[in-house]
């Protein structure tokens, strides 16, 4: 009984007793959820348009951030460096489409998945060769990102909110809004949706698949750049950052591979669930459960809905 009490009653009592801590934890969860969603968004973009599960998204985040910081350290003005980093992602998109995707058209999913693995290795080696393996500071000041914290006294305690986190949430929301408009209102966006529906049908009405792939990889590269700036500002730019790609996986699974709103809501659920779990239930088993809790949450959702919350219904025929 004691264990049941500790698992099911005590954390909630604690939540009620210290609402400020609860709000603080929720806020942190939401912010990390938004950041997870940003990474998952890159995955969804590419998966929707080309059916490729792009494992290299994590290293693209690191790569984009490294180019930005590296150029700035060479004396390039921050915003010029930002544009150059975006251009570098465009070059990467073109090269990937030419060298990796085009020869592998029509191969099974797992082969394409493996190819992006090869790409990951290639980019890790290339990045370390050029920029060195040492971690760097993100240039938050030069990019005019706000810093500092605000303390709000409320609910019998104080809640600390980092300005950077607010900026991250705003920028991520803007990015997601822009992508939504881009997808629904523009010509290219319509072409993208057509390709996502059916490659063959899109080809037959004259949409160039190769062009679309370049565009989505470039869009994913831009998302990676933004994610790189935000994650870099929080935890520094280093190659260990690419592990967050694995954190984006449960987000992706939870939301469904093909749904942009799914990626966002999945990100928020995982972010909040992870932080709440770690803070309130973590101490029961000795802490550190953040590493696997996200996967278990995703797994529980999956058992209920095998295609993710917003995924397309899986219809199987013989």
């Amino acid at each position: 009984m004691d264990i049941l009490y500790k698992v099911f009653i005590e954390p909630f009592v604690f939540m009620g007793e210290a609402p400020d801590l609860l709000i603080q934890t929720l806020w942190e969860g939401l912010v990390s959820g938004v950041l997870y969603a940003l990474i998952a968004l890159g995955f969804v973009l590419i998966f929707k348009a080309s059916g490729v599960f792009n494992f290299a998204q994590g290293i693209m985040v690191v790569f984009a951030a490294l180019i930005l910081v590296g150029l700035y350290e060479k004396g390039v003005p921050a915003f010029l460096a930002l544009i150059l980093a975006a251009l570098a992602m465009l070059v990467l998109a073109v090269v990937v489409e030419r060298v990796v995707l085009r020869p592998l058209v029509n191969q099974p999913d797992i082969i394409l998945f493996m190819a992006t693995f090869g790409l990951t290795y290639l980019l890790i080696g290339f990045g370390e060769l050029i920029f060195g393996g040492s971690p760097r500071e993100m240039i938050t000041d030069a990019l005019l990102l706000p810093q500092g914290t605000t303390e709000i006294n409320a609910l019998g305690g104080s809640i600390r909110i980092q300005h950077l986190d607010i900026a991250a949430a705003v920028i991520a929301s803007l990015m997601i809004g822009l992508l939504a408009v881009f997808f629904s209102k523009t010509r290219i966006g319509r072409a993208l949706r057509a390709v996502a529906d059916s490659h063959k049908a899109a080809l037959s009405v004259g949409i160039s698949l190769n062009q679309i792939w370049v565009i989505v990889w470039f869009a994913a590269g831009l998302v990676a750049l933004v994610a790189g700036i935000m994650w870099g500002a929080r935890s520094g730019v280093s190659f260990s950052l690419q592990i967050i790609a694995l954190k984006a996986l449960p987000v992706l699974i939870l939301g469904g591979f093909t749904s942009i709103p799914g990626a966002i809501i999945g990100g928020l659920i995982i972010g909040v669930g992870e932080k709440l779990g770690e803070f309130y239930w973590g101490p029961l088993v000795g802490g550190g459960i953040e590493t696997w809790l996200a996967y278990v949450i995703a797994l529980l959702f999956l058992l209920y809905r095998p295609q993710g919350l917003f995924g397309e219904k899986i219809i199987e025929r013989i």
């Binding site: 599960f53 060298v99 990796v100 020869p103 592998l104 191969q107 099974p108 999913d109 797992i110 082969i111 998945f113 493996m114 190819a115 693995f117 090869g118 790409l119 990951t120 290795y121 290639l122 980019l123 890790i124 080696g125 290339f126 370390e128 060769l129 393996g133 694995l246 996986l249 449960p250 699974i253 591979f257 088993v285 000795g286 550190g288 459960i289 590493t291 696997w292 996967y295 278990v296 995703a298 797994l299 999956l302 058992l303 095998p306 295609q307 993710g308 899986i314 199987e316 013989i318």
Partner: protein, 361 residues
């Protein structure tokens, strides 16, 4: 010229369904096994310790993953953790019962891994494809967390590491610091040959056909009377058994001691590389994949400085490491583009060509 099937007649069903119907294949396989055993007496310690033992261990783990991913079509990213379960189980068993021969425990530890594998395979009935990969990732991270957090697993020793105690067979040390690479190589080789033979019989028999039917289309297989849950769980269990034994071999017969970090997610990806580059659904492909993915970086590390020095480029050790990463990545993409079905398919094509050589057809 010498590789012909002419004159070899199949006069009964047994010879018709033989795995190696060609006499030349059987002779070739025998020669390879003899050569592998002879290598223990001809090769030097570096070759045995740093190349052959890990190659065999990774081949075994690849066979395990191949049974799951290649034959049954279930994608798993938890191989590293299942290997870890085998290693920790083996450690607990052989320290708790030091009187029983350690070879017995190596084989028994696989069963613990199989049980854990089957447990984490339970969602596979409902979840498919990349979605299943997340279920196995949950296994990977949860089990790794257990390895760190449960000191009972390492008998409460302070370093938190597994170490190989001294164990003997017929008075010869086969495990621990005193065992020579030669004896360890022979032991690993024997275990790998035995388990490969078992796997070959499994995948060519009724069970293997059930797995393949599930892989090709589980709905159709179910309608034909194959029970999906049992078949998938069996695949998870057998696969994890192989991985578990490979994990025990990895720690106690190759490293001689290891920490939880050996069984991290990169190890899982590493094995998955081997399976895919080698060829999904092919046992010989597992060996090819392990050879390529494991031995290629070693060869590159040894030859790159020599290759670059004539151009006046002298490079540091870290640059070599980065170049190695790049070349391995590029080669993975290259191999996938050239032959998406893996090295095993290249081997098949080579044999077909050899049958008619020197004529084109």
């Amino acid at each position: 010229m010498f590789y012909r099937e002419a004159g070899q007649f199949k006069t009964n069903y047994v010879s018709d369904s033989a795995i190696f119907p060609l006499r030349q294949d059987r002779i070739g396989l025998g020669l390879i096994i003899v050569a592998a055993f002879a290598l223990a007496f001809l090769g030097n310690d570096f070759l045995l310790q740093a190349v052959m033992i890990p190659f065999l261990v990774f081949s075994l783990a690849s066979i395990g993953l191949n049974i799951l991913t290649g034959y049954t079509g279930l994608l798993s990213l938890g191989t590293g953790a299942f290997m870890g379960v085998g290693a920790y189980a083996c450690y607990k068993l052989m320290t708790a019962f030091p009187g029983v021969n350690v070879i017995v425990w190596i084989f028994v530890s696989g069963f613990f891994s199989a049980a854990v594998g089957a447990l984490f395979g339970l969602p596979s009935l409902r979840i498919k494809g990349f979605y299943l990969a997340v279920a196995t990732l949950a296994a990977q991270f949860f089990l790794q967390w257990c390895f760190i957090r449960i000191p009972w697993l390492v008998n409460y020793n302070v370093s938190g590491a597994l170490d190989a105690p001294l164990r003997t067979l017929f008075g010869v040390p086969i495990m621990g610091p005193n065992a020579t690479p030669q004896t360890r190589y022979l032991l690993v080789l024997s275990i790998v040959i035995l388990l490969t033979w078992l796997a070959s019989n499994l995948v060519h028999g009724r069970i293997g056909r059930m797995w393949i039917a599930i892989r090709d289309m589980d709905l159709a297989a179910e309608l034909m009377g194959i029970r999906p849950l049992q078949t998938k769980l069996l695949a998870f269990a057998v696969s994890s058994y192989y991985c578990g034994v490979a994990g025990a071999l990895l720690v106690f017969l190759w490293y001689g001691g290891a920490e939880y970090d050996v069984f991290n997610i990169n190890q899982s990806f590493f094995i998955l590389f081997m399976v895919i580059i080698g060829g999904l659904g092919s046992l010989i492909g597992s060996f090819f994949g392990a050879a390529l993915i494991f031995i290629m970086p070693i060869v590159l590390g040894l030859t790159l400085p020599a290759l670059l020095s004539p151009f006046g480029i002298s490079v540091g050790a870290d640059t070599i490491e980065h170049l190695r990463f790049m070349i391995v990545g590029a080669l993975i993409i290259f191999f996938l583009i050239v032959e998406p079905h893996g090295l095993a398919r290249l081997w098949q094509i080579g044999k077909q060509k050899l049958l008619v050589w020197p004529f084109p057809y």
